[in-house]
Symmetry: C2
Amino acid sequence: MEVSEIYKCIADPQRLRIINLLEVGPLCVCHMQEILEVPQVKMSKQLSSMKQLGLLEAHREGTWMIYKLVDPVEGLITANLCYLREAACGECSQLQRDLTKRKKLILKVTKIENDCPQEVCEQIACC
Amino acid sequence: MEVSEIYKCIADPQRLRIINLLEVGPLCVCHMQEILEVPQVKMSKQLSSMKQLGLLEAHREGTWMIYKLVDPVEGLITANLCYLREAACGECSQLQRDLTKRKKLILKVTKIENDCPQEVCEQIACC
DNA sequence: CAGATATATACTAAATATAGTATATACTGT
DNA sequence: ACAGTATATACTATATTTAGTATATATCTG
């Protein structure tokens, strides 16, 4: 993966937000959609372009597709997330808010689906 | 300046190389051209787009235009250069080679223009 | 098998970015 | 004022990216 491709990828705010979410752990498409409030087509196309690039991978679980960052995560990605999460700017605080939203969403989901202990849930993403 | 604009900027290898050069100190257009071996139009257009963005500023010195990074340098830029200069990849080693080339070029220029002590030269860029 | 849900793809229109050629401007030295 | 050097801009062609609508696929449930 080329440096310039990575930058081109995170140069799109929506894609950056997706990566920010996935860096914390895998997520299924519908939950990312809910967090980012973005139309299904757009989400799907962005995910597939990032998968194509070699940044994400996905597996199916029932009707859901679970996406995650390819392991090991590109150092350049990690370094930038690290910087942005500390920084003070519009896009940066958005990233923070997304992570908060993610946490709440997962808590809610685990309660509905019941009995999935939070730690496990965090690990397998969408329960 | 938006985060996404900065990424879009450095997503172009040539622009990244320019920023990498200028981070070390100001330079005039013709010397950047010589180092990057890129046609005059392209260089000029890229510089002007980065100036427009608020990343660079320029002043005239005779027939030369001296460009420099706006002070203070965007933290995101600094952080990324810092990462890339250490990293091992094609684009990264290119950045290193550019800096070497820059050093040699300046030494050569200072000799021709004579008597400009290197430290001063480094500071005022193209002598 | 039919209907529902989640996700992906094809196709098209529209917007953006890039590259090249020619030309213009600003300055210097004569 | 004129020729030369350095740099910028206008204009155009071309490529790349993005967005939207419609449609397809995969899986589950009854």
